[in-house]
């Protein structure tokens, strides 16, 4: 396979994630879309690393994987907090910055 | 007297008092559930897996036995009440017959009293064996270590049923007690058989204790389902439940019947009031019952086993107007029988018969004990109460 094919695939995945970010109103749905985008970026990192011939791409991807999982954990803690204070997890309900 | 609901000082029967906005899950625990020991329902309000409120519903096995007894003759009642506490039928028969004897003023010969005491103690061992098996199964599952204990306990319980079969010809619903005594005399060789069986079981009890003596059993029972002595007294709990809460009370010693006044019954108490204490009390009671039965079985005095002629016709009983309450100590606690004699059929059937089942009182502890525990503990607690629904619902 050529690198361009992987790049286009990654771009497609990323754009789908962006679509999700733009349309979703549910915090967990948003989080899932973010995961899709992060995944696309990871895929690109690995692809670049492979065609570049070093392991650095994989190392980066590993770091970002760990980071995204961390983000998911903190994000869900926030979601639970949001649910406790708003009794719902639609992000519109947290429009104002008051606790 | 008004019929309004008493204002109970009870935080659990009014859910609104517990964090009204909490997301509670209502779980119908039963009536069809592997661990409800029959058909019994507890509506549990769960916060996660923690019970915040539990409402027990009994009555799924109600058969109207008490009403039925008003239509049956005194001789016919015995086999009917046999089915109440189907784990310890000997006590049911004995309870109603003792009440009828008190009502009619019939003397029970000393040999019959010995037989009643012996079969009662052996029955207590059988009942506790069944309880231990099912309790272990509640804790350990139908596919697991619990079943091993269950199978072992049933193996020994079968031996006791063999003893009863030898004595009465029946394994389960004996109909051996009758007004004024017993129907079946001790057959030849029965005493030796009792010694052999009970000696055997005494050793096996050590085995049960050995297999249950591990950290998981302790972790599952200690501190779980604590019933304080005050709560136990308030709710009218009796038997091992009361004794496990530290109250030294046993009808065999405190209000002796049969020949218990001549015996030195060791009353087993324990402190803590948790499932582990109930387990310890019952295991010790098994040993004590084995001791009593073995001590008595060699010394049964000769004589008749029934004070009256066997009742063939209903009119043969002579019943005075009046009422009696007779209680005896079953494996589950105080089984009381309240009989009012008289009415149109005064010589045939009681005017009113009321049974006080210890299991129903035990179940009334659930709303107080369950909240704060998880679903797993609920099973352990329910099992440790040893309810028999046939008796609780009647």
């Amino acid at each position: 396979m050529t690198l361009s094919a992987w790049l286009v695939l990654g771009a497609g995945l990323f754009c789908i994630g962006v679509y999700g970010i733009l349309t979703r109103r549910n915090a967990i749905g948003l989080l899932a879309s973010v995961e899709v985008m992060a995944n696309a970026v990871n895929l690109l990192l690995v692809a670049f690393g492979r065609y570049h011939g070093t392991g650095d791409g994989q190392v980066f991807a590993l770091f970002t994987t760990a980071l995204t999982v961390t983000e998911a954990a903190v994000g869900l803690a926030l979601v639970i907090l949001l649910y406790r204070s708003r009794k719902g997890i639609l992000v519109d309900s947290a429009a104002e910055l008051r606790g | 007297m008004t019929l309004e609901r008493p204002d109970r000082a009870d935080p659990y029967l009014d859910l609104d008092e517990y964090e009204p906005e909490a997301d509670l899950m209502v779980l119908n625990f039963g009536p069809q559930h592997p661990s409800t020991h029959g058909v019994f329902r507890v509506v549990m309000y769960l916060d996660g897996e923690t019970i915040v409120k539990a409402v027990p519903y009994a009555g799924y096995l109600h058969r109207g036995v008490e009403k039925l007894c008003e239509k049956l003759t005194y001789a016919q009642i015995t086999p009917i009440v046999d089915k109440n506490d189907y784990v310890a039928p000997m006590f049911n028969e004995q309870a109603v017959n003792m009440a009828f004897e008190a009502l009619t003023g019939t003397e029970v010969p000393i040999r019959a009293q010995y037989i009643r005491t012996i079969v009662g103690e052996i029955q207590r061992v059988a009942s506790h064996l069944l309880w231990l098996g099912t309790f272990a199964m509640d804790l350990g599952g139908a596919i697991g270590g619990g079943t091993s204990v269950f199978m072992w306990c049933f193996r020994e319980r079968e031996m006791i049923l063999d003893l009863f079969e030898h004595l009465t010809g029946c394994r389960f619903h004996y109909n051996t007690h009758t007004l004024g005594g017993n129907r079946h005399d001790i057959p030849a060789g029965w005493a030796e058989k009792v010694h052999a069986t009970l000696g055997h079981i005494a050793q096996r009890v050590d085995e049960y204790e050995a297999i249950l003596d591990h950290p998981i059993f302790k972790a599952r029972t200690e501190g779980v389902g604590v019933i304080s002595a005050q709560l136990a007294l308030d709710l009218g709990l009796t038997g091992p439940l009361l004794r496990a809460s530290g109250v030294d009370h046993d009808l065999r010693r405190d209000a002796p019947y049969n020949i218990y006044d001549q015996l030195d019954v060791q009353v087993m108490t324990d402190t803590g009031g948790d499932c582990a204490a109930r387990y310890r009390v019952r295991v010790r009671e098994m040993r004590e019952s084995i001791r009593i039965a073995r001590a008595l079985v060699d010394n049964v005095p000769p004589g008749p086993i029934c004070g009256t002629k066997p009742i063939k016709l209903p009119v043969q009983t002579r019943v005075k107007d009046g009422q009696v309450y007779v209680a005896l100590e079953t494996p589950r606690g105080e089984l009381g029988t309240y009989v009012i004699g008289g009415g149109d059929n005064r010589n045939a059937s009681p005017y009113r018969l009321k049974i006080r089942p210890p299991s129903l009182h035990a179940l009334s502890a659930l709303p107080y004990v369950l909240p704060g525990h998880g679903v797993s503990d609920a099973v352990a607690i329910l099992g440790s109460l040893d309810p028999i629904m046939g008796e609780a619902d009647r």
Binding site: - | G141, A378, V379
Partner: protein
């Protein structure tokens, strides 16, 4: 031979053998449990009840296939085959004797861990899709337990990887054949790691004393409450498969796999797997069940710190013996 053809043929044989083993594992378990409980186990179908597994399968096939009206139909039907699939996929990298394995992955040990981490999903999917409260509670328990015990399991295997200096399972077995079994590593290091692995694997496989997700006496049948017939059978089969594979994995990681005198490697591997599986059986029919919170306490308060400590000890030991390579 073409590697693709080899993989396909080997997988077919492996699946057939494993399925038969699973069927007879149920028979063996019932026989052994019967002896432990002073009864006989199956005796009626065939000689010594040997045809019992087939009769059971036939019975399950005849049962009515019920899908609850309020269930999520697609997910409900997806869950049972998925459990069996994940359980079988794990078997691909287990080395039964030198060269006898579907695929000698470089990262075989990690592959097994990744799949065993996925095992909770079909269970959760089934429990969610059933739309039943008991099933839901069971599913939540399964997921919580799965991700918690994943950590000590991962760490214990990491210790083995550290000692073996390779992640390939056949490589790990080869190292043990050359240098001695890992369970016999000095200072009790190997034994402690093995104990850690065994406990964590029992919990991952939902075996007693850790079978809280199923907990018949509390949750009726946990995630499988609403399943009938062969769908239930598939869950059941996956559980047995998983336990056999975990035993095989333990044999390969700690007990030297195919290594042994006189007899061929395959015999030793089968013998060790069977032995380990019997220990699991023994535990199953002896112990009672933990409570969920007690299981979590055991994992996070004792097993995770212990595994971290062991990992450090193993690192020091490897460094002292081999030096920096």
């Amino acid at each position: 031979m073409n590697p693709w053809l080899h993989a396909v043929l080997y997988s077919l044989v492996l699946v057939t053998v494993l399925m038969t083993c699973t069927a007879y594992a149920t028979w063996l378990e019932r026989k052994v449990a019967g002896r432990m409980q002073s009864r006989l186990g199956p005796t009626r179908v065939g000689f010594a009840g040997l045809l019992q597994p087939i009769a059971d399968a036939l019975k399950l096939l005849q049962k009515e296939d019920i899908v609850p009206l309020a269930a999520d139909r697609a997910l409900f039907n997806l869950a049972p085959p998925l459990t069996v699939f994940f359980a079988l996929a794990t078997a691909a990298v287990i080395p039964f004797s030198p060269g006898l394995l579907a695929s000698d992955l470089d990262i075989g040990a990690l592959y097994v861990l990744a799949l065993s981490g996925l095992m909770v999903f079909p269970v959760w999917i089934g429990s969610w899709a059933s739309n039943n409260k008991y099933a839901l509670l069971g599913g939540m328990r399964a997921v919580a337990q799965g991700i918690s015990y994943e950590i000590p399991l991962l760490l214990s295997v990491t210790i083995v990887i550290l000692m073996a200096d390779t992640m390939s399972l056949s490589g790990i077995v080869q190292v043990q054949a050359d240098e001695g079994w890992f369970i016999a590593r000095p200072f009790g290091l190997g034994l402690a790691t093995f104990a850690l692995f065994f406990v964590a694997a029992l919990a991952e496989g939902n075996r007693i004393p850790f079978d809280t997700p199923e907990a018949e006496s509390e949750l009726v049948a946990g995630p499988t409450t609403e399943y009938t017939g062969m769908k239930f059978g598939l869950f059941y089969m996956a559980e047995y498969l998983h336990s056999i594979i975990v035993a095989g994995l333990g044999a390969a990681l700690f007990l030297g796999g195919w290594d042994g005198p006189i007899a061929p490697g395959l015999h030793w591997m089968v013998l060790k797997t069977l032995g380990l599986w019997m220990v699991m059986l023994w535990a199953r029919w002896t112990f009672l069940r933990f409570r969920t919170d007690q299981m979590m306490t055991l994992c996070w308060r004792y097993l995770v710190p212990a595994s971290l400590g062991l990992l450090m000890a193993a690192a020091v030991w490897v460094h002292a013996v081999h030096g920096v390579s």
